[in-house]
Amino acid sequence: MADASPPRPAPISLRGTLLGYLAFAVAIAAVWGIDVYAVPWTDPYLTDIVIRIGMALLAVMGLALVLGFTGQFSLGHAGFMAVGAYAAAMMSLHSGLHPMIGVLVGGFAAAVAGVVVGLPSLRLTGDYLAVVTLGFNGIIIVLIQNAPVLGGAAGLTGLPVATTFGWTFTWVLLGGLFIRNLLTSAHGRVFEAVRDNEIALRSLGVDTTRAKVVAFVVGAFWAGIAGGLLAHYRASIFPSQFQFDRSIEILAMVVLGGTGSLSGPLLSAAVLTALPEVLRPVAEYRMVIYSLLLIGMMILRPKGLLGGKEISDFFRRRPAAKKEAA
């Protein structure tokens, strides 16, 4: 009934597109303005939280695409972050290029890993994907721990610090724009159709495996970017940062924010990242709280907080009643 998807704005016009680009440029300028004029006078503790929120946003938006919109249950998102982080770190340590080039390379490395993991497993039903991605997360950690060149279990240190507020949110804006535009394009329709009814989609001549792999690879890319930024945040990375519980954390953010929504997961990523900082005693019980929230949410409100809607839908003047058919 009324909980069907909100009506999409009718075809994207050239004018709307240009306005969108303009808004994006303004946002980028604002980010750098804040970076130059506000950040130096801000409490470093606050800046720290905000930057970590930014990295969480990047990781979460990819999984929101894969899980929330395409309906593919990936449990190894932290594995892609690991690939991105280590690829970016190696670039920065050995190439002498700007660290942000390394971050970009990290994103592509994660995307390649996404193809390798996604191609075999996305042909199968959802359960298998969950297990394979979980396994991939495990294998990545084992491989890193056993690779002296990657620093083994002790990790890599002495990385250049480059993940500033400005760079983090430049990436967040790029990622947000990319995924939002993708979701509101013809491809976004196909992703949601995959989630709703794969067999029907195939009967329309659409290659569903390809669509799933595309979503998966895009998700992996942005996770890789998040990893690359993480590598250049504290000058060091180690494998245990990317273990399974990190994947679960990202999953919790997406599920709690709402599957089939982009802004919902982003909001929950921000809240769940900031919460342990604001409520210190909560930090120790963080994972317990996440898990209770997950179980409770599935039983009480399975579609997540926003239930497949975007934040903007709540401010739209045409109410949901418009969708009720005669």
């Binding site: 069907a4 009506p7 999409r8 993708l182 949601e192 029907a200 009720e324």
Partner: protein, 260 residues
């Protein structure tokens, strides 16, 4: 020339022969009925044709070429559209988007052009939008274009599913019990719709149906299946009189059901 031809096609599930030795030949442009008692294997035939099941024996030719082993996506792309017995719409998408998805194959722009909103993508999108709206209009669904597909009443969902299948511009359309769950007047309306679709879109139609009135009223030829095998083939008049068919439907008041 026949657009679709099944040659001794069949499938086993373990020991069970769901469909066996089935010969079927659809002349181009015809409206063909496939009937039979429950569990006769009608939907299985559709699944064999559309590549959801792989036939374990025989061959299936579409426009003279074998399509066995091509898989559902490529078979659909080759020009076979279908609807499902239990309607399969994209419930999270709007009515309009359900149809627009079907144009995906004809998209020219790549992923990056779509994300960057490049002119080629905008053109693609505008074309898909216009075509989808036009199709919805011909099906009387345009006023509901922005509604969620789930919010449509049952009869309109069936219509939408047919419109969506036609959006792929198929040469052959398979309709799986389109009148299921409809009352006589809705079924009658559907009958006209199917006939109209054939005329308007120039497609060949293969129809599974339980409503005898619908089948007998619009199909030019009919094949009757029972226990996975063909027991009769002919014009509605021939089928009506065929003693084997009457036998297969035994247990219910056969004559009234078949002639109704």
């Amino acid at each position: 020339m026949s657009i679709l031809e099944l040659r001794k096609a069949g499938i086993r599930f373990g020991g069970l022969r769901a469909v066996c030795d089935l010969d079927l030949s659809l002349p181009e442009g015809c409206l063909y009925g496939l009937i039979g008692p429950n569990g006769a294997g009608k939907t299985t035939v559709f699944n064999l044709i559309t590549g959801i099941y792989l036939p374990t024996e025989g061959d299936i030719l579409f426009q003279g070429k074998s399509i066995v082993g091509m898989g559902p996506t490529r078979i659909a792309a080759a020009g076979i559209g279908r609807t499902f017995q239990n309607i399969r719409l994209f419930s999270g998408l709007s009515v309009l988007d359900n149809v627009k998805v079907a144009f995906h194959r004809h998209l020219h722009a790549n992923l990056f052009e779509a994300v960057l909103r490049a002119p080629r993508y905008l053109a693609d999108e505008a074309r898909a939008d216009a075509e989808a709206r036009q199709l919805l209009d011909t099906f009387g669904l345009l006023p509901m274009a922005e509604y969620g597909a789930e919010s449509l009443p049952y009869g309109l969902r069936r219509r939408l599913e047919i419109a969506r299948a036609l959006a792929t511009k198929p040469k052959l359309l398979l309709l799986d019990e389109p009148a299921a769950g409809m009352n006589p007047s809705e079924a009658d309306e559907l009958m006209h719709l199917i006939r109209w679709v054939r005329e308007t879109f120039g497609v060949t139609i293969l129809l599974i149906e339980h409503h005898m009135a619908v089948v007998m009223g619009i199909c030019e030829r009919i094949t009757v299946l029972d226990h996975g095998a063909r027991i009769a083939e002919g014009t509605p008049d021939e089928i009506r009189k065929d003693p084997v068919v009457i036998e297969a439907y035994l247990g219910t008041d056969v004559h009234t059901q078949v002639t109704a």
